[in-house]
């Protein structure tokens, strides 16, 4: 039983490789990435370009550097794989999100320095990849949680444009939240 199902999987994969359309994405610094069209279409922006028939040879992405683009592609590949997974392997996981393998993978994925996180957010926004945008925004939210306003400013290098009097007023408006 096991061997026959394995061979079925293999032959399906071979079929897939023959028929899979590829698309080339070009980063701002001139590097080209060839990816499966289905993976690239995780990005709504790219999906529209392809559907509008404007994707001739390459799709230029002038707002995304190669370093970030390769990470984005990694994210899309992983999530596309998980979505396309056949029933048996998916149902072996419980519905509890803490043991969902993608949650763990996602958590590791965003363990990056601030610069990379910042660029990932902008890329996810530009490329319109909802899952990645939610994930990166959640990471930013987690960096804000539990911190005082001053600590938040320091973490995100935000300039304080309140005068001391103005800031006191704002705190007074919702005093309880600052205690």
């Amino acid at each position: 039983m096991a061997s026959s199902s394995t061979s079925v999987v293999v032959s399906n994969k071979e079929k897939e490789n023959k028929n899979t359309k590829k698309v080339t994405l070009k980063s701002s610094d001139g590097e080209s990435f060839e990816v499966d069209e289905s993976v690239a279409m995780e990005s709504q922006t790219i999906k529209h370009i392809i559907e509008d028939g404007c994707a001739n040879n390459e799709i230029p992405l002038p707002n995304v550097t190669s370093g970030i683009l390769s990470r984005v592609i990694e994210y899309c590949k992983k999530h596309k794989e998980a979505a396309g997974e056949s029933e048996p392997s998916v149902t072996s996981y419980t519905s509890n999100s803490t043991t969902n393998p993608l949650t763990e993978w996602d958590t590791e994925f965003v363990k990056v320095d601030q610069n990379t996180l910042f660029d990932l957010i902008l890329a996810a926004n530009y490329l319109d990849i909802k899952g990645l945008l939610d994930l990166t925004c959640k990471t930013v939210a987690d960096m804000m949680k539990g911190k005082t306003p001053q600590e938040i400013r320091e973490t995100f290098h935000i300039k304080n444009d309140y005068t001391p009097e103005e800031e006191a007023e704002v705190r007074k408006e919702n005093q309880w939240a600052f205690e």
């Binding site: 925004c137 304080n160 704002v170």
Partner: protein, 411 residues
Amino acid sequence: MSDKEPMWDSLPSEILTRAFLQLPIKSIITCTSVSKKWKSLIQNPSFISTHLHRSSSDSNNHLLLFRLCPDEGTVWDKCEREVYTLYWDNNIEEEDFNEHTRFDSPFPAQSCSVIFRVVGTCNGLVCLARDLLSYDNSYILWNPCVRKFTRTSKPIVSYSTHGGFEETTGFGFDSRTNDYKVVRVVRLMDREDEDGSSLKVEVYSLATDEWRMVTAGLPSGCVVRGREPLAFVNGALHWIAFRRNITNNWQSFVMVFDLGDEVISEIALPEFLNGFDGDQYWVRMSISVYRNSLALFHQQDFCSPCLNTWVMKEYTDESSWTKLFTLSDDQGSREYVPRALGFRRSGEVIIEMHDGQLISLHFESQKLKVLGITGYGYISDHSINGNGYTFFDSYLESLVLLDEPNRAVTY
């Protein structure tokens, strides 16, 4: 890649708000003090609206609000202290019924006065009326999540202008104008209008802080009972009203007030009521929300006492009233028929037993879950349609009133 720090300040606003939306409410408020830009992003109606929308579509975040009876204290204490608790509305059978948080009532108990009656909740706002024992002059709209409340201006109909009256109130949201409205339905006891009408309806708008009488389309010759529950569904408030039929008995029907166009219409109640000999005014029934339609709870206190529940499967289709279930109380006592408080999102019903014990009934399987929390049970002056002390409703955390620093009081 440069070594310089990323320009977080230059992030597009929609990305920043996306991050704020993932924060607990207290943290969101902290962020208003980080910079003026952050404050303006958060304290604006559009963000509050998006936050609310997100709150309502996140099924892991559904809550139930209860106003329960305090555990300790004398009978007087129980009528002066208010206990508001939020529980998670989880549907998983094995899980305990878990408390999320409690709210302190910010309103000091006035001596010799009784607690508020909870009129209703909508989008995180709780509407309170101090009309359990006396005539009140205003209502309170309270958002316990952001610790703000505002008092409405004085209504038009008052004891000094119109004499004695029975009143009932409802609360809802008008999505067309993005406004919260309180509707007050009053039955004058001491006088009547020139055309013999004793029913008055006035509506309050939070946006204008004004009350306005509703005169168009008000059916004549109708009355309401005091503290009749009003059900808010499909953008309209619904309540049970009565008019005389050909045998000169009070006959019940549902009066509908659309909050958007402020038009009054009617829906008939289930046919079983037609079988009542005499005044339906004294039938122990109340209206409630069931999914996106109406439910009728009927405490049958004759023959075999039981709680009957009817639902209108197709909203406004009067022929679709269907009996959903009957719950008999083993005690078989006429006085103490269990009282239904409302439906959970799952369709389970929260029921208060005579001693105040609250249970959640899954009527298809007939499984009762004892929740371990207690309401007021039967208060000696309990009214025909519910006692107004114990309160239950589905609840959504929201930031409503956060953008009203001048009108709302913070505590």
